[in-house]
Symmetry: C2
Subunit: 347 residues, 2 copies
DNA sequence: CTGAAAGCGCTTACAG
DNA sequence: CTGAAAGCGCTTACAG
């Protein structure tokens, strides 16, 4: 006998059996299980006792079919770093568990917007998700947002650009964090500070650049265009950016580089290592994200720790509250981030 | 009107409407949708055309309820590295998509076996999963295996220890890969090769040590106990291991270190960097796993690339085939891994 | 505060 | 190769 057949034989107790034992109607059991209220404490106790004795668990498939809800939340994201996404998954899951929602994950890496839209439409049509959480930078994708809005499906965005849609949005205060980071460099005596910018598709890229600018302006340090180079959050951008910045004439070249994420900062470190430039002696380096490896490289990387799990938990919370009928249009939440100082910016 | 209400209004076509349009019974539509056969080509075409015209998608909740299957596969894992798990998720998902299974993820990091068992029992009782895929090292956890077997739930293990259960098992040929890696070091002239072992809870730790031993034996190099140090796959173990190995008297200390995973190898690199020991000049270093950062550090890390996604896809495949009734007891598959040579082992 | 009835959209088991 | 009937285990909408 193959296992698959044995598996079908699992005995399950139904709402009917609980109702019989508790001597009430199935509707009353349903009321108790769903905390609907309008049940006398005595009846409630009877039902709960009966349910416990029979080890009753509501059948989700039946509940879904009858209520026409899936109790599933879909987490949609594309090419985010794995560390980041695993944290997001944890955060969302924590919140989902509390309300018995299932989490469906939908990575769409290396896929065109057109393909994502098709997938999305399938998921929506099959009623496989009551709501969506969009990770960056998908959360800023205009045509995805429009599609979800057209179908009237609730969703929450994890993004730095709240204005891009009226749906709730959760992000990080990274302008402030970047500001503190660059201020730290200035306080250590740096005046020529280079920056390697993030992927312009992400709202965070703009935010972090703004933090950098503000810190310089506050200290009356002119913003030099030749110290601002483009990047897109990839390791290689860090290598290229460092190369460009450090090939400036010696008296003009930066003594510190702020790479807008850790991947690029590690690229800077690699270029420095390969070129015999000593960090932090000749060059201070800092990143953003505090990925696991920021403390694993030598010298350890000064960076910013983002409360990713908290952001994700908050996003899930807003979505679930929306599903329960709360009106949350225009809600935007930003969580604070923390500067983590390590060896790459010196003593 | 809150969004949650609008969401409920999504119009869906049912099997009944398709049946009417195609002028057949709903049972026949069901047959076509499930590829059951026993339908004449002409009828089949009619149904397919009708389904397409109405943009019909079977309602999963109804299907689940009627068939008493959840069409969900649960991926259960604990404290694996995020890079690893994201790859596993991708691989499993790829295979699930093909058969319209949903993927439920269940990370159990930092949780006792007792708690995992409770969670598992809940999932099983709620029929929320037709089958499970166990990631390492959970896949070798005796009491988890027993629990699943008792409930008669099909599962597949991702593990290096096929003998630990009769259920299907998928792994990597890492003994051979470790053997090739150490042989490479020997061919470069190294004779004193240290090894930092992996977490003994993982079957891979034993495998990799065996590969190391075999390579030395084949080249008539004695295995020295003082060159074999314990570890558990954490970065810090690499630091500690390097410290211990490199504090040996100069003529006895290793000229190369094989850390049994990349995290530990990066620990070795960090210790070397902080101690002014030049890699690869004074010390060759290699790891195992080929995590993203193996190529981001300087010097780039020589390591072994594992076909994680393929392993995961294979595991999902075995599970789905089991669910379809195939008999796969005792099946064990090992996929080959590839040595990736970078700067940390020299020219 | 409680319940009887109808129905969610499929599959199963059976019949022909 | 095709179909009519029953039922999966809940919730919804209504009545009292």
């Amino acid at each position: 006998m193959p296992m698959s057949q044995r598996a079908h034989r699992r005995t399950t107790t139904t709402i009917k059996q609980v109702a019989e034992l508790a001597k009430v109607s199935i509707k009353t059991v349903s009321r108790v299980m769903n905390d609907e209220g309008n049940v006398s404490p005595a009846t409630r106790d009877q039902v709960l006792t009966a349910a416990q004795r029979l080890n009753y668990r509501p059948n989700m498939a039946a509940r879904r079919l009858a209520s026409r809800r899936s109790f599933m939340i879909c987490l949609l994201y594309d090419t985010a770093a794995s560390d980041y996404m695993v944290e997001v998954q944890f955060g969302v899951m924590e919140r989902c568990d509390a309300d018995h929602y299932n989490l469906l994950i939908r990575p769409c890496g290396d896929v065109t917007t057109r393909q994502i839209k098709q997938t999305l439409e399938q998921i929506i049509l099959q009623s496989n998700a009551d709501g969506f959480i969009l990770g960056p930078p998908l959360a800023d994708n205009r045509s995805i947002i429009t599609l979800l809005e057209q179908h009237g499906v609730p969703f929450v965005r994890i993004s730095q650009s709240p204005k891009k849609a009226k749906e709730p949005c959760v992000g990080v205060e990274d302008t402030q964090a970047a500001h503190r980071l660059v201020t730290l460099l200035i306080e250590k005596g740096h005046r020529r500070i280079g920056i390697i910018r993030g992927n312009p598709k992400h709202g965070s890229a703009t935010d972090r650049l703004n933090g950098y600018r503000r810190a310089l302006v506050e200290h009356d340090i002119p913003i030099r265009d030749d110290l601002v180079v483009d990047g897109s959050y990839e390791f290689e951008d860090g290598v290229d950016g460092a190369k460009r910045l450090l090939s400036l004439p010696k008296r003009q070249r930066p003594t510190a580089i702020f790479a807008c994420n850790d991947h690029m900062a590690l690229g800077v470190l690699q270029y420095a290592g390969a070129s015999g430039i000593e960090v932090p002696g000749e060059l201070a380096v800092c990143g953003f994200d505090d990925i696991e490896f920021a403390r694993f490289v030598w010298p350890g990387l000064t960076t910013v720790n983002q409360p990713i799990r908290g952001v994700a938990r908050t996003a899930a919370d807003l979505l679930i509250r929306q599903l329960k009928g709360e009106y949350l249009e225009g809600v935007s939440i930003r969580l604070p981030a923390t500067v983590v100082e390590r060896e790459s910016t010196g003593g």
